[in-house]
């Protein structure tokens, strides 16, 4: 790992990733050979690093010191409906997703709109490692060391206009590589959104890696959102479009079940999901359940964003 401060990840937690890495390398190599064999331009080293390691500086002020969820759990137990609606399909099926080349289009109420390569998007940003809690709406949680940068930095670069009140994100739609999209389980492509002040909050980040490694596909490669005080489904994966809007975007899960998944979806133990209580959660790897904290324990930093709002109404 090239993280500049001593790592507090136990070696025992890292071991399984070497196994995983070998599988990914095998898939990359075989894909490269396949393309080369077909006479197509191969994948360049610049766009697809052979090594999965990322150069990142730790950011302790934004990190929790809680025990990390083992890499194996964080990369095998995923909700990524584009690869199937059960937890284990993404890890099995996401290997076939082509993440390079990757383009991101910046649209809407923004001065420098356009379609950019991932490299152009990432170039100016220094990568940081931040250890965040992740709380799924299904009552399980993880602690993940993400590698990425503040979304605010990216937003400033592209100069949204004064009419930009919201940011809407869209996931890739590519059913031939994302088998879950072949059935209309959700209204594809997956869409999520944030209010501008939520998007500009220093905790909100775009992640390109975890545990010092490039993001595995099942975790939302090559670039995903991480909003640690909201339920996990707000942290949209494999982003291809960022649009600035005046109107509040309609999230995919809200469209699917408006009474169950609101636009805000802030972690809140006092607002039940209609089908289950949100008072407690199971941290992966633990037997007993923990109490769920308001805003997933980030109330001090983010509660101010919602001052005066009825959080039972704006769930």
């Amino acid at each position: 790992m090239l993280i500049k401060k001593p790592s507090d990840i136990k070696p025992s937690e890292i071991t399984p990733q070497s196994v995983y890495q070998r599988r990914r390398e095998f898939m990359r190599t075989s894909l490269g050979l396949l393309l080369a064999g077909a006479g197509l331009p191969g994948l360049s080293a610049a766009t697809l690093p052979r090594s999965g390691k990322l150069d990142a500086v730790k950011n302790p002020s934004l990190s929790t010191d809680e025990t990390l969820t083992p890499w194996a759990n964080a990369t095998e137990y995923n909700n990524f409906y584009e690869f199937g609606s059960d937890k284990y399909s993404p890890a099995k099926l996401a290997g076939r997703l082509t993440t390079s080349p990757w383009r991101l289009s910046i649209e809407g109420e923004v001065a420098r709109s356009g379609s950019y390569t991932l490299e152009d998007i990432l170039r100016p940003h220094a990568l940081e490692e931040r250890i965040y809690r992740l709380r799924c709406v299904e009552r399980w949680s993880m602690v993940v060391p993400w590698v990425g940068f503040s979304l605010a930095e990216l937003i400033k670069r592209f100069e949204p206009t004064s009419r930009a009140k919201y940011v809407e994100f869209t996931t890739l739609y590519r059913p031939e590589e994302m088998p879950g999209q072949k059935r209309r389980v959700l209204d594809w492509p997956y869409v999520e959104g944030l209010r501008m002040d939520e998007a500009m909050h220093p905790l909100t980040m775009l992640a390109v890696g975890l545990y010092g490694e490039i993001l595995p596909n099942q975790n939302g490669a090559p670039i995903r959102l991480v909003v640690p005080w909201k339920y996990g489904f707000k942290s949209i994966k494999s982003i291809v479009k960022i649009r600035f809007t005046e109107q509040q975007p309609v999230s995919t899960w809200t469209r699917s079940a408006p009474s169950e998944y609101g636009f805000y979806s802030n972690v809140n133990p006092d607002v039940d999901h209609p089908r289950w209580s949100q008072k407690r959660e199971r941290r992966l790897g633990e037997f007993l359940k923990r109490k769920t904290e308001p805003f997933n324990g980030y109330a001090e930093q983010v509660a101010g964003l919602y001052r005066g709002m009825d959080l039972k109404k704006y769930y």
Binding site: A72, N73, E76, Y77, Y81, S85, K87, Y88, E138, W140, R183, V185, L186, S256, A257, D272, P274, R275, W276, S277, K279, R282, L284, G285, F287, L288, K289
Partner: protein, 209 residues
Amino acid sequence: MSIDYRLFIKPLVFTACLLPVAWLVWALLSDRLGANPFEELTRQSGLWTLRFLLLTLLMTPLRELLGRAWPLKYRRMLGLFTFFYASAHLLTYLWFDQFFDWQEIFTDIVKRPFITVGMLAWLLLVPLALTSTKAMMKRLGRKWKRLHQLSYGIGLLAVLHFLWLVKADLREPLIYMGILLALLGFRLWHRRRQQFPLRRGKAVADLSS
């Protein structure tokens, strides 16, 4: 001709019915149930309950279709295994999900329809399990059959329980519902055929006369 192999079938079936629970316990102890093993236990015990319920409901149609009596010999055993897996499923919820927090459990039962129907389905299984003995069959006579027709309603509640739990992808619960409806539909069709057994033949006879 010396060994009656049929003597071994019932113990064999009994053992086979225990395999899912044996596998679950082994998988739990050897850390093979994934990242969230206790939720997986709930999920798997629920699925096995549904499978045993459908197997139980399959025995009567199977008798009619094969014209043989042997499927009925397994109906009671399969029904009791349904109750066994349903109870294990309930226990995983009470324990690993709620840790016997009775107030939360009560709230769940009252407020969440999928829990309400699941709980109701289990409660309705209790009298069926209690009256499954030969003695109870004799004592209840005709009433026994009517009582045990509750299993049709239990099947519908169980499938509803699964359907209402799912967030978006309804395929799996709908498959179970399809099988259940086929099994119940067969009974309706068969009953009609028994009520009017001669209708068709009579009509043909009328025409020919």
